[in-house]
């Protein structure tokens, strides 16, 4: 029973994180939320008797994907609706 409640909790957490990732305007938080989704997925994979997949998801989904997203955000814009203000008057690089 506890087991089931745990699974449900995880599922709700996952969907909640997904919704959060989609609605959140601050991309940094959104990316962290996707990391949370991957984390939950890792646990779920483990529960569903797929340790291999869980390991992969943990390494790639949680760590690497999140980091690439973070680097991208670092290099571009942090907020979803944001326009580039720091170099608005700079002509686009050719």
């Amino acid at each position: 029973m506890i087991y089931l409640i745990l699974i449900f909790f995880l599922l709700i957490l996952m969907v909640g994180a997904a919704i959060y990732a989609v609605v959140q305007k601050d991309l940094l938080y959104a990316v962290i939320a996707t990391g949370v989704i991957s984390l939950v997925l890792t646990v779920l994979f483990y529960i569903l008797q797929a340790p291999d997949v869980a390991l992969t998801e943990a390494a790639i989904g949680v760590a690497l994907t999140t980091i690439i997203f973070l680097i991208t955000i670092r290099n571009t814009l942090r907020h979803e609706d944001e326009y580039s203000n720091k170099d608005k008057f700079k002509s686009p690089t050719k």
């Binding site: 029973m1 089931l4 699974i7 449900f8 599922l11 996952m14 969907v15 997904a18 919704i19 990732a21 989609v22 991309l27 959104a30 990316v31 996707t34 989704i37 991957s38 997925l41 779920l44 994979f45 569903l48 008797q49 797929a50 340790p51 291999d52 997949v53 992969t56 998801e57 790639i60 989904g61 690497l64 994907t65 690439i68 997203f69 680097i71 991208t72 955000i73 290099n75 571009t76 814009l77 979803e80 609706d81 944001e82 326009y83 580039s84 170099d87 608005k88 700079k90 686009p92 690089t93």
Partner: protein, 120 residues
């Protein structure tokens, strides 16, 4: 009880796919779209693993002394598929993000509405 779990897991994975699609279809930021794509991937992976699940099964790994436990093992095929799919998905995500960076270099914005110099 398992009925709920069944609906719960399938429902959650399908919801994940739909939420990802929603992000892809409505969000204007390129990064959000890529996030959406990776959420879709996550949902599909969960879906595949769920298909292979066996009630009270064990992981498809033979431990010493249990060489005949095959009947109690979950389906290893979807796991293998998901393993491949995760890596491929990561590769695609990385390429997508590099394209986002390139687009930002050119257009100085991430709004997909603004990036349509190719049309008609």
């Amino acid at each position: 009880m398992y009925k709920f779990l069944e609906y719960g897991v399938y429902g959650a994975s399908i919801l994940l796919i739909l939420i990802g699609l929603y992000a892809v279809l409505t969000k204007k930021s390129l990064i959000k779209i890529v996030i959406g794509l990776s959420i879709i991937d996550g949902g599909i992976h969960l879906l595949l693993i769920t298909i292979g699940y066996l009630r009270q099964g064990t992981a498809p790994i033979f431990s010493p002394g249990f060489e005949n436990a095959a009947a109690k093992m979950v389906d290893p095929v979807p796991q293998a598929l998901v393993l491949t799919a995760i890596v491929i998905g990561f590769g695609v995500t990385a390429v997508a993000l590099s394209l986002v960076i390139r687009l930002y270099r050119h257009h100085r914005t991430l709004q997909i509405d603004e990036i349509k110099s190719l049309k008609w």
